[in-house]
């Protein structure tokens, strides 16, 4: 059995929105896709965040094993040095490589942490790359040049993530910003779609994967227009106009799906996945302000207070260790996106911090405080519903790169790391935030029709894709092939086979550990750009 597979990634897609768009006729093809195939909830990583989630999906390994825990993370377990993730952070074999080792070609488009592109039997056009660097960071080296020559309308600036434009659109967040924000993503997705189509025709692969990330971007800013539960009883003209424009984006996406399924052909398997789901958030928890009130954190004298009208997930200036008095701080959060809390231990990443022999008892004290004393002042209800120790969610050789604690909030959202003038603030308008439950949909030869499956995990996707292609599954993948998606006759004729293990990427063995001290100001400008994406504060 050899089946071509298309992985149709929708960053942040949720049934909350997709089912509504199908019901209203905005995405009719998706509706028929659902009827012809299987669907399941797809549970994300903890935290439910783009870099660890997509990397888990493409490696079949968990974050503590593959090594990607956040957008920015410690370079090594004993270094205070923080770097922006790149393909070098992925310490496990990707599915593109697994397919290549089996003799098949694999193409990936717009996946995070894939730059600089690693050598594969196929092609890689990575996502999250500034336009000037797309050509340099793609594989093979002449991929972009060929697209520029062969693909009419190909535009690097429109294709790539323009960090300046993203920042403008997010930072504004007024009605006037909505139209250009939506248009930006309509144009960008069209670029990726045209590349996808071009590659499927001219360089067909056993596995072709693409991520359309505008779903996430629109939902962050425009959740109130997309979540049917937010629809006013008497919607204004502005509401209807903006929602219609949002729907234009999804209509286009529906058309993409139709064309790609038809292009892939009736024998192919098409799998739709999201890295996480989405929901709405109406509040902001200023976690460092709470830590300060509890005596765990001391701000530096010149640490600025967040603007009173701050409402965006990524609004404001990045937070640095220099914002804290490190001699008096026992716990702090530096990145909103990870919901992670760091406990500095003396002698690990510098001299400051609690004594090593106090770590366990302090961590327990902090967990208890987070769960019982971080409460809504109006209702007394806990704001933090879960606290995970590092070893509980990042188990593996890269565990020590992750925060000491990771919290889950009652609205599934991300906390703010700003210095707030209060611990909890209501947002003026509901914003979209990540949710752990994403989507899995599939159609193809032998795939059941109209069946709802039990929830899957991102870890299950790599073995499922390999199974769909008729390839053996490496024994060390952590998830399982979802054979329940196929009819019994198919599974009996094509049982899951296993062989060998994954290989370690070439860059891992020689990756050096830096001993250089980290001064937090260094990544300031980088984080100022990343905050435009709604994750970094």
């Amino acid at each position: 059995m050899s089946t071509k597979v298309v992985l149709f990634g929708l960053d942040g897609a949720t049934y909350t929105v997709l089912d509504d768009l199908v019901r209203r006729g905005v995405m009719p093809y998706l509706g028929s896709f659902m009827e012809r195939g299987v669907r399941a909830s797809l549970m994300s990583t903890i935290p439910h965040l783009t870099p660890p989630a997509w990397t888990t999906l493409v490696t079949g390994r968990s974050p503590g094993v593959h090594g990607v825990t956040n957008f920015l993370q410690y370079q090594s377990p004993d270094s205070p040095y923080v770097r922006v993730i790149s393909s070098r952070e992925i310490c496990c074999e990707t599915i593109w490589s697994m397919v290549g080792r089996s003799g098949g070609r694999a193409g990936s488009l717009n996946f995070i942490a894939h730059a600089p592109a690693q050598k594969v039997n196929g092609y890689t056009l990575p996502g999250w790359v500034p336009w000037r660097w797309v050509k340099k960071h793609s594989y093979p080296a002449d991929l972009v040049s060929r697209l520029q020559t062969d693909l009419t309308g190909f535009d690097l600036k429109e294709l790539a993530m323009d960090f300046s434009e993203e920042e403008k659109a997010i930072a504004g967040a007024t009605h006037e910003d909505y139209t250009p924000w939506i248009d930006l993503h309509i144009r960008r997705e069209l670029q990726w779609f045209n590349v996808l189509k071009h590659q499927m025709v001219n360089d067909p692969c056993a596995l072709t994967g693409v991520v359309f990330d505008g779903v996430d971007k629109l939902q962050h800013l425009l959740w109130q227009y997309l979540d049917p539960s937010c629809e006013p009883k008497h919607p204004s003209e502005e509401f209807l106009r903006t929602r219609e424009h949002c729907w234009d984006y999804f209509r286009q996406l529906d058309g993409f799906l139709k064309e790609i399924v038809e292009l892939a052909g009736p024998q192919a398997c098409v799998v739709i996945v999201s890295d996480h789901g989405f929901t709405g958030t109406e509040e902001i928890l200023y976690i460092n302000t709470w830590l300060e009130q509890e005596g765990f954190l001391t701000w530096a004298p010149d640490a600025e207070v967040a603007p009173a009208d701050s409402q965006e997930l990524g609004d404001g200036k990045p937070i640095h260790l220099t914002s804290f008095d490190t001699t008096k701080t026992k716990a702090f959060a530096s990145s909103a996106s990870s919901n992670g809390i760091h406990i500095p231990v003396a002698g690990v990443r510098g001299d400051a911090g609690i004594a090593p022999n106090e770590y366990e008892s302090f961590r327990e004290e902090l967990i208890h405080a987070l769960l019982t004393r971080c409460v809504d002042p109006q209702t007394g209800e806990p704001i933090i519903t879960n606290v995970w120790k590092r070893e509980e969610i990042f188990a593996g050789p890269r565990m020590n790169l992750a925060p000491d604690l990771t919290v889950g909030l009652r609205d599934s959202g991300f906390f703010s790391v700003f210095r707030g003038d209060t611990v909890l603030k209501r947002r003026p308008v509901v914003m979209g935030c990540h949710h752990p439950e994403g989507v899995f949909l599939a159609t193809g030869r032998g795939v059941r029709q109209g069946v709802r499956l039990a929830p899957l995990h991102l870890l299950d996707i790599a073995p499922t894709l390999l199974y769909a292609m008729g390839l053996a599954v490496p024994k060390d993948l952590e998830g399982a092939a979802c054979v329940e998606a196929w009819v019994d006759e198919h599974v009996e004729a094509h049982p899951v086979t296993f062989n060998g293990s994954t290989i370690i990427p070439p860059h891992v063995e020689t990756a050096a550990t830096e001993d250089a001290p980290y001064d937090e100001e260094g990544d300031a400008q980088v984080m100022m750009r990343l905050r435009a994406l709604g994750y970094i504060e």
Partner: protein
């Protein structure tokens, strides 16, 4: 461990920067005196991408953010290509899997 020769690194870096020029709409000559931000019109994220490109080229992790940090500390208006060559010369280790 022996460091790579400065002239080799300089050639590598200029080649990488030169490869960008077609799409960058930068027509001037790139030299050691060229400023990344003022003349090559880098944004911060471009500097990160350059760091990744260099790590990939030499197949080594580099303390690139530290390099940017020190530039910020001395309130440098820009970073010249030559400064980056010096940084790489002092940090790159010879024979650790440079890529073709």
């Amino acid at each position: 461990m022996q460091n790579l020769d400065r002239s080799v690194i300089r050639t590598d870096l200029l080649k990488i920067l030169d490869e960008l020029r077609d799409d960058w709409e930068f027509s001037g000559e790139v030299t050691e005196e060229s400023g990344l931000f003022t003349q090559l019109e880098f944004e911060s994220i471009d500097a990160v991408a350059l760091g990744s490109a260099l790590e990939d080229h030499y197949n080594q992790s580099l303390p690139f953010a530290e390099f940017l940090t020190k530039a910020a500390e001395r309130k440098a208006a820009d970073i010249k290509v030559g400064e980056l060559v010096d940084f790489l010369t002092s940090h790159l280790r010879n024979g650790e899997g440079e890529r073709a």
